[in-house]
Amino acid sequence: GQQVQQSPASLVLQEGENAELQCNFSSTATQLQWFYQRPGGSLVSLLYNPSGTKHTGRLTSTTVTKERRSSLHISSSQITDSGTYFCAMERRGNEKITFGAGTKLTIKP
């Protein structure tokens, strides 16, 4: 079945540093989405990026479909960025979404 690998599993940074999160998938993804989850909270969609580069605020996602990978870059991290980041992908016509295990990000003051 399709697999999604996220790295690193956890990341600890100082406030102001940049964060780089990676997502690799085992089959060609036609759809790719990044989510954020605060501890005890639900999932919030950050970026929907099946290919190319997309920006929103301090977030940049780059998906290279042929290489089966996507990255999420968070610039000038803030304490409120702490939480878990998930990527999720779907193969064409499948409708079945597969999530990675997440990257737990901790930003320290």
Binding site: Q33, A88, G100
Partner: protein
């Protein structure tokens, strides 16, 4: 805009009990999903439905039933609650063919 509501927010049941979780969306989305998230873990797909009365099994369907009564609602039934399935159950929806999913706030299940 739209919203996904899940009821109840907290569900407490006895071991062996049959429990039902409900989800409603007003996005007019075709596809709806049920996921289970164990503490500190990722999401695992239980069931999904691409249209009214459709049902597709996910990776974790054993021990669960689901029902898509109408386009806007998707119910999940835990057929016999077990202590090892205490988790948060998340409902999501999306347009057909799109993975841009929107999530509900979740139902936290506790089994005594």
């Amino acid at each position: 805009g739209g919203i996904i509501t899940q009821t109840p927010k907290f569900l407490i049941g006895q071991e062996g009990q049959k429990l039902t979780l409900k989800c409603q969306q007003n996005f007019n989305h075709d596809t709806m999903y049920w996921y289970r998230q164990d503490s500190g873990k990722g999401l695992r797909l239980i069931y999904y439905s691409i249209t009214e009365n459709d049902l597709q099994k996910g990776d974790l369907s054993e021990g669960y039933d689901a029902s898509r009564e109408k386009k806007s609602s998707f119910s999940l039934t835990v057929t016999s609650a077990q202590k090892n399935e205490m988790a948060v159950f998340l409902c999501a929806s999306s347009r057909l063919g799109g993975v841009e999913q929107y999530f509900g706030p979740g139902t936290r299940l506790t089994v005594l």
